[in-house]
């Protein structure tokens, strides 16, 4: 029997560029280390198991250019290894400490085992570059990797077109360097879309992007199939809308699976719980308590009296939730297919880091889900948006609505009393970049280097993460400092380029520090109409 519809799971793997060679250790670099151990490697392990067991699957995953840049940076790779060695050391100590208590000891063992496997995969299998793992599974036909804006800049709040173009073009270039082919899809940062941005995507060779539900539902003209089909923008780039129901069952704090009382608690970490001197070597470099990744308790409920984590029970729950998720999607597909004259596609996008980092059992859930879809039913199949377009090359043409997947669906999270001050600086820098780019086309040497560095600083300042972090009030000072630093560096270079007094020593310092996108070309900021004159 033929399937009646499709499920497209899209994982968005992203972290802002955090790399501080000027320190031996840096708290914010742990965002990356935690994500590697808890999310990226568990996903890679899952891909491998599925492949070895002959379970076919199709998943879509964005790996953002900043994340790519960090994953292939040798300094960060070495720092991650060091971090991992410390984790292993702590886990070994924990094993000793808990040897009298079987229930806890087996959790220490679980972590020790996971850390060791991480090391084996990271070091022995992929020679410190796990991007090769993603490439491997893409080339083998399991994954569809898509790109993202260069530094995850929130495009609806960019006022000049060249800023959007630079985000996209640099993103495409970085993807190509990492994965050896051009990307077909893009994850617009925060799913932020404003009308006509698709034209820029078209110019850069992108074939599809994703928006939140209302991006499609409120499109002009009325969409024929709700969010359950792909559509074309006038530019010819396709768009897919997020399914609310499948999204909510995972994202929602109240109704979502990750809140189950048997799942592991994210906050109770031995880094906070154990004797200070004992954990000190494994927590934050400045001596403040922080996560170690070893967590022994389950969510339990709305109580501070947490109960011990039981991995077997949690695993059962993950299987149960995977079954429930699949059942609901099947029902959805069946129902939709009764009055659609094509097979519906359910698009379910999530932050990749949700799986494993926040929701410890997330990767097992995914694995169960994929296996169940493969073995237990015939109603739907996993698919990627590109596969769907190949099956349905003719689609309704519409203009998606301005939208984002953030709080209230528009720009508010990135534009409010806490962070609105950044835009006057970002816009000013973008304007200056455009003017200088046009004036300096074809320059060489120091001047070219300075202009390329200006492009890097501008891009770094644009990361939506800084505004996000400021709004959520964690690491606020760090985020503020990052924006100010990049704007400051940009403005100083601007002055030096304008007055032809480029300080090479200063430039070198910046090139070493903000070293991402080695192949960037500032001429991306030249206006499109000007570009054609070349």
């Amino acid at each position: 029997m033929e399937n009646k519809g499709y499920l497209s799971i899209v994982l968005h793997a992203h972290l802002p560029y955090v790399r501080h060679p000027e320190y031996d250790e840096f708290i914010e670099e742990r965002w990356l280390f935690e994500a590697i151990t808890e999310t990226y490697i568990p996903l890679i392990e899952m891909f491998r198991r599925l492949r070895d067991e002959g379970v076919g699957f199709r998943l879509t995953m964005s790996v953002t250019p900043t994340l790519i840049s960090m994953l292939r940076d040798s300094m960060l790779q070495d720092r991650y290894l060091k971090h991992l060695d410390k984790s292993i050391e702590l886990a070994q100590k924990e094993l000793q400490r808990n040897k009298g208590n079987f229930e806890v000891k087996r959790l220490s063992e679980m972590y020790l085992d996971a850390f060791r496997r991480s090391k084996d995969i990271f070091l022995n299998r992929y020679n410190k570059n796990i991007l090769d793992a993603f490439k491997e599974y893409q080339d083998a036909g399991f994954l569809e990797l898509i790109t993202c804006g260069a530094t995850h800049g929130f495009m609806p709040l960019m006022v000049n077109r060249e800023s959007v173009k630079a985000q996209v073009r640099v993103g495409v270039g970085v993807y190509e360097e990492a994965f050896g082919r051009r990307p077909e899809g893009i994850w617009l940062p925060e799913c932020g879309y404003k009308p006509y941005d698709d034209e820029i995507l078209k110019e850069e060779g992108i074939k599809y992007f994703l928006v939140d539900t209302h991006g499609v539902l409120f499109a002009d003209p009325r969409p024929r199939y709700g969010v359950y089909s792909g559509y074309f923008c006038k530019s010819g780039v396709a768009v897919f809308g997020r399914d609310v129901e499948s999204s909510k069952s995972v994202w929602s704090a109240a109704e979502g699976y990750p809140g189950d009382h048997y799942y592991r608690d994210f906050y109770r970490d031995v880094g906070f719980d154990l004797d200070y001197d004992y954990v000190k070597p494994y927590i934050n470099p400045d001596g403040s308590r922080g996560n170690t990744g070893m967590k022994y308790y389950r969510i339990t409920g709305e109580t501070l009296q947490k109960e011990l984590y039981d991995p077997d029970k949690a695993r059962e729950k993950a299987a149960e939730h995977a079954g429930n998720f699949m059942f609901n999607r099947e029902k959805q597909v069946e129902y939709l297919s009764t009055f659609m004259d094509r097979k519906p596609i359910i698009v379910a996008p999530y932050d990749a880091e949700l799986f494993g980092h926040w929701w410890f059992e997330g990767p097992i859930f995914l694995e169960f889900l994929i296996k169940k879809i493969h073995h237990d039913q015939k109603t739907m199949k996993l698919i990627t948006p590109m596969d769907y377009l190949r099956e349905y090359p003719k689609n309704q043409v519409l203009r998606p609505s301005f939208s984002s997947w953030g709080y209230k669906g528009y720009s508010e999270f990135w534009l409010n009393g806490s962070n609105d001050w950044v835009y006057r600086h970002l816009h000013k820098a973008a304007g200056r970049m455009k003017v200088l780019a046009a004036k300096n086309r074809g320059v060489a040497g120091l001047r070219r280097r300075a202009l390329n560095q200006m492009a890097r600083e501008l891009l770094l300042a644009q990361s939506s993460d800084w505004a996000f972090i400021i709004k959520t009030a964690t690491h606020v000072e760090y985020a503020q400092k990052r924006i100010k630093e990049h704007v400051f560096r940009f403005n100083r270079l601007h002055e030096e380029v304008e007055s032809d007094t480029i300080d090479e020593t200063y430039l070198e310092v910046l090139e070493r520090r903000d070293n991402l996108f080695p192949n960037i070309d500032f001429e991306v900021y030249i206006e499109a109409s000007e570009e054609e004159k070349i």
């Binding site: 914010e28 539900t213 359950y228 996560n291 000072e477």
Partner: protein, 298 residues
């Protein structure tokens, strides 16, 4: 203060340093922290006056800045009630995303030291030029920021000549018209500006419209002198399109069904409820901006 610093724990010292806005301390040992802090505390008396002044100034600005003025508060309330059905009211996604960035207990509260000696991360608020920008926050809110040099203010005051005038932000609805020399527009409203304020959230009545803004002087006799004009923005229309695609034969019934299934009314609305919500939804739509248009199509 008279506190014995040596009795405090390192963490507490860090906390104190953070309160005293001393930067670059997180990597310091306890002894070094004590040294820096005692120096700072001694200095405190001297600079106290200055700091207090600064804080006072900051407070005044903060007090006024985040106030979001609305020209028609009653209308806005109604709209908000309506969107509740569809918009994400919950922050749970953001709260989960946030955990990506939770490495430490609390805010790091400290900035990494810059090793480029001369570099200061403080950036100037002004660029010494005149500009006014308009951004779309959502279907009902715009954000504008501006920088206007004293000279331009002065020139405009001279131009207007009148002694009685107000500084205003004028917001024009220019949907479907080409905006030229402040004369072609559908409607406008003014927001009176408070001195020293250089950004504002603007509440607009209808979604899916085009706007442009000007800062200028409005004389008591009603004349308006433009100081500076913004870019034009288009707000997203909140709600389904009125356009029906004939090629794809999107008939009304199918459309609303797919709309509902896609989560257009919120998740978990059962098919029974659906009819009710659907009806209500249509009434809602009629009673607001798109008068009668849905009724006609039935």
């Amino acid at each position: 203060m008279g506190k014995d610093l040596t009795k405090l724990k390192r963490i507490e010292l860090l906390e104190l340093a953070k309160k005293r806005k001393i930067k670059g301390v997180s990597i310091l040992k306890k002894a070094e922290l004590i040294k820096i802090l005692s120096k700072d505390l001694a200095k405190k008396a001297e600079v106290k006056g200055k700091i207090e002044q600064k804080i006072k100034r900051d407070k005044i600005v903060k007090k006024i800045k985040p106030k979001k003025k609305t020209s028609k508060p009653d209308l806005r309330k109604k709209k908000t009630l309506k969107i509740k059905k569809i918009a994400k009211e919950s922050l749970s996604q953001e709260l989960i995303e946030l955990t990506k960035f939770q490495a430490g207990t609390t805010d790091r509260g400290e900035e990494p030291r810059s090793q480029i000696g001369s570099e200061s991360p403080e950036i100037k608020h002004h660029y010494g030029e005149d500009s006014l920008a308009l951004l779309v926050r959502d279907p009902w809110w715009l954000f504008s920021y501006w920088e206007i040099r004293g000279q331009l203010w002065e020139d405009t005051r001279l131009r207007c000549g009148s002694s009685g005038y107000k500084e205003v932000l004028r917001v024009y609805d220019v949907t479907g018209v080409e905006f030229k020399d402040s004369k072609s527009y559908n409607s406008y409203f003014d927001i009176e500006l408070t001195p020293f304020i250089e950004c504002w959230y603007i509440n607009v009545k209808d979604s899916g419209r085009s706007y442009v803004a000007e800062v200028g002087l409005r004389t008591d006799s009603g004349k308006f002198f433009t100081i500076i004009r913004s870019n034009v923005v288009v707000t997203p229309r909140y709600g389904p399109s009125e356009l029906v695609d004939e090629e794809w034969m999107v008939v009304d019934e199918d459309y609303w069904k797919m709309f509902a299934l896609s989560g257009g009314y919120g998740v978990g609305v059962s098919s029974e409820e659906l009819q009710k919500v659907l009806k209500q939804r249509r009434l809602d739509t009629i009673s607001s901006s798109t008068k009668g248009s849905l009724e006609d199509k039935r």
